[in-house]
């Protein structure tokens, strides 16, 4: 198993890029003319949201790979991508809420399509772990989880389209074609923060993959040494426990 390949380089890159991005945010990027200092949460909130959504879609892509090849390593990748995205998703909702409170005066704003779509997507993916947990047979668990990951991955863009059409367009659409209004130094800061967040996400995913693969290998070695009797039986788990 080579899940750990490139882990050192990625860890160093994240360790440089994330503090570097924060240094740029605080010392280089100018304060926003309308919103002032609080607008700087944008450099955390938006990259995190983009990475989370990409992670959800990546979970779907690995789901397709798993169903096509039957290789359970892809199921493990799909699980880890969705798991990490869920954790980052909590951060997105929290930072989005703080930003909404600071700039619009309410913790939650319903006529803001991006926040609402994100909540719906998050609620859907929050069922991923319960779904896995309630299927005992590991082979079926992997298969059903992949089906869920594919359907939910396709749902992400469609949901954003529907919610955006329904609501007024009050959310700052930084990445649309009109987003060219962002001045150069803000754009550089944003891009560094985005790359840093993507690096961090991939690094964390790789750590989880390497850790899961290591415990699977350890279990296989124990079985070889002690035979099936010497093994503690596995608890039910939402995570894949063997390949």
């Amino acid at each position: 198993m080579t899940f750990g390949r490139g882990l050192r380089a990625l860890s160093i890159a994240s360790a440089v890029l994330i503090p570097g991005a924060f240094a740029l945010v605080f010392f280089y990027a100018p304060n926003d003319a309308d919103q002032g200092f609080v607008q700087k949460i944008f450099y955390l909130h938006v990259p995190m949201a983009i990475v989370t959504l990409c992670g959800f879609v990546a979970g779907g892509v690995y789901g397709i790979k798993h169903l096509r090849s039957g290789d359970r390593a892809h199921d493990l990748r799909s699980y880890v991508a969705i798991h990490m995205s869920l954790i980052l998703g909590v951060g997105v909702l929290a930072t989005g809420s703080i930003w909404a409170r600071a700039s619009w005066g309410h913790w939650w704003v319903w006529d803001e399509p991006t926040l609402v779509s994100f909540l719906i997507v998050f609620l859907l993916y929050a069922c991923y772990q319960p779904l896995r947990f309630s299927i005992e047979d590991p082979e079926r668990q992997a298969r059903y989880a992949s089906v869920f990951a594919i359907v939910a991955g396709a749902f992400v863009p469609l949901n954003f389209l529907a919610v955006r059409m329904a609501e007024s367009l009050s959310h700052p659409r930084v990445l649309s074609t009109t987003g060219g209004a962002m001045p150069g130094d803000m754009r550089i800061t944003f891009l560094v923060a985005l790359v840093g967040m993507a690096c961090l996400f991939v690094t964390l995913c790789k750590y989880e993959l390497a850790s899961k693969a290591a415990s699977m290998q350890l279990r296989a070695l124990k079985r070889r040494l002690a035979g099936d009797d010497g093994l503690v039986p596995l608890n039910r788990s939402a995570a894949p426990q063997q390949l």
């Binding site: 169903l67 719906i120 997507v121 609620l123 859907l124 069922c127 319960p130 779904l131 309630s134 299927i135 005992e136 079926r140 298969r143 059903y144 992949s146 089906v147 869920f148 594919i150 359907v151 939910a152 396709a154 749902f155 469609l158 949901n159 389209l161 529907a162 919610v163 059409m165 329904a166």
Partner: protein, 224 residues
């Protein structure tokens, strides 16, 4: 494949005709929800977007009951095994079940929508009937496709009654948005207003995307 689909549909409709497991329950549930909304909102009559919202939330919750029951007989009485042993295309089960769920929804709406008009709606949607029918058909198709897929996904889990609504409801949010936005002007207090066709396009897009997707992945829910 047409023959297989027809046979499966016939089986399910006969089962429903003899045992009355889904449609009456869905219908009673919808009417109870209308009564609940009447007291919950404390209104004698609704119109416009409030009426559209009440109608679609109720129909969606009733549809979840149908999804929960859709594959129970297959699992409990070995229908899946029997089907897998037969030398037929597996996707036939998906097509048949989606059509069955669609017809259950139509059967429920034949009574529930007039009941809604009588009980809660203030202006009668008489002249907007064709548009309302188009929205109902497109939304039912979306609910049937997603409901069949999630029903098959959830029926094999331990917590079936929990998993199916928890997954299906967020997935069906776009249907509720599009259907409610399209229905709201039809039910406006001062008579039906011009009809926003783009919401029909969103519903059709949703049906097409999830129809194809479910058709592609359904086989993997059946393998043994």
């Amino acid at each position: 494949m047409t023959g297989t689909v027809a046979a499966l549909i016939r089986k399910d409709l006969q089962l429903e005709r003899r045992a009355f497991e889904s449609v009456p329950a869905m219908l009673m549930f919808s009417i109870s929800i209308f009564v609940l909304f009447h007291f919950g909102l404390d209104r004698g009559a609704l119109a416009g977007d409030l009426a559209a919202g009440v109608l679609w939330v109720t129909l969606l919750l009733a549809a979840v009951l149908g999804m929960n029951r859709l594959f129970v007989a297959e699992r409990d009485q070995g229908g899946f095994d029997g089907f897998l042993m037969a030398p037929v295309d597996r996707t036939a089960l998906f097509v048949a079940k989606a059509i069955v769920l669609f017809s259950f929804l139509v059967a429920v709406e034949l009574v529930a929508v007039p009941a809604f008009v009588v009980l809660l709606l203030d202006p009668s949607p008489g002249q907007a009937m064709p548009e309302l029918l188009a929205v109902l058909v497109l939304a039912d198709a979306g609910i049937a496709v997603v409901g069949t897929l999630i029903g098959a996904l959830g029926v094999q889990t331990r917590a079936r009654d929990l998993i199916i609504p928890l997954i299906a409801l967020p997935l069906l949010v776009p249907v509720v948005i599009a259907a409610a936005e399209a229905t709201a002007p039809l039910l406006a207090a001062q008579g039906a207003e011009p009809f926003p066709a783009r919401w029909l396009a969103v519903l059709a897009l949703y049906d097409a995307v999830f129809g194809l997707l479910a058709y592609a992945v359904f086989d993997f829910l059946l393998e043994e």
